[in-house]
Assembly symmetry: C2
Homo-oligomer: 205 residues x 2
Amino acid sequence: MPQAGAYHHGDLRAACLRAARELLEEDGSSGLSLRAVARRAGVSPTAPYRHYADRDALVSAVAAQGYEKLAGYLDAAHPSPSTPDDLAAVAVAYVRFALDHPPLFRVMFAEPCDPSSEERVKATAVISEYVRGIVHRAFPGVDPDALSTTVWALVHGLAFLHLDGKLDASTSEVVDTQVRTAVHALFTASTTLAGTAAAPSEPAK
Amino acid sequence: MPQAGAYHHGDLRAACLRAARELLEEDGSSGLSLRAVARRAGVSPTAPYRHYADRDALVSAVAAQGYEKLAGYLDAAHPSPSTPDDLAAVAVAYVRFALDHPPLFRVMFAEPCDPSSEERVKATAVISEYVRGIVHRAFPGVDPDALSTTVWALVHGLAFLHLDGKLDASTSEVVDTQVRTAVHALFTASTTLAGTAAAPSEPAK
DNA sequence: GGTCTAATGTAAACGGTGTACACATTGTAC
DNA sequence: GTACAATGTGTACACCGTTTACATTAGACC
């Protein structure tokens, strides 16, 4: 039973999205139920179906917002990264985002979304291209595809292992220096290999 | 209603575990419900509670089996890895395991298990120690903690990105060579840095 | 062998969930 | 002003995890 005399909500779509985001932060993925979202938005349990086909669609919308938020983190680390140090700073921001918003990060990456919403596929393509661009500028002469997927994987893995408590995340300084160190180690390799043939990996399809 | 004249199942614990494993492979994490497990075991919906405290406990048991299975993959790649090439082969096996059993891999790593069953914490500690041992043998002179967490993160990230379809996994050969290339790139860095001071990351606690 | 007890399985019930369906209300374009 | 499309409600179904009380049985002890 919503506000008296307010049969139509006004912008239920946005309200659902906001409620979903909040519930996810508060109670994790399992707390993000369509019914809870409807309750929080002050609306009947089935009202959200007018704006989202099913739970997955709503979750995907939250994930899409997460990608934007992640982009904000990366951008704040460096607006136009073009050196190895810049890239390292961006990597630190990536891991920090994961540790700042664990359930959101999990929703973005840890859930099967194989042929899921095009929203998400596109969003990850954006990330991929973003990293590729930085690598291209920071390491002219090396195969950007190979190095960018490698550095993305490294940072992504660090984020997940930290998220699962498998690594020492006692202080943010420890985490930051570890990420920086790991990324720089990889860079050392790439510059060493700068002249060698491009690695036969990940054709741009 | 189970078999006539078979009120007691015999080994319901194992039967539940097997059913859970099957359901996970078939329908993913969402298909792994206690009730479905009970149905498959031919037993009443609440019978599994005699052997598992709740759903999480059963899932953790499945995950623990997954860690053993993963160990089998790694061992099959090389029984006693001690060179960089050996380690690369093990890394390939790690990613292959993830791609062979996506839902299982997700259950093992992608679910929040912060203070969860001790079973899982121990299992990941085993992995960590295993990698550390190989790195120590393959790269005497470098800080094994720093390099092992880095290489684990790299491989773990590759596994996840492949799982989410973010990388080119068209053929297993492509994946394999990509993993091998990425890992080797990291090794190049570590040998370059062999003499330098140990990186200040991840104290062994 | 007979009995007592703990282990194991069953049945019923509660609250929560996703989702489909028919219906009510309301903004809007004509 | 009226028709229509958009939006929100109510009801219903099947499934889920979990609790509680009860039934059955295996195994120990005499």
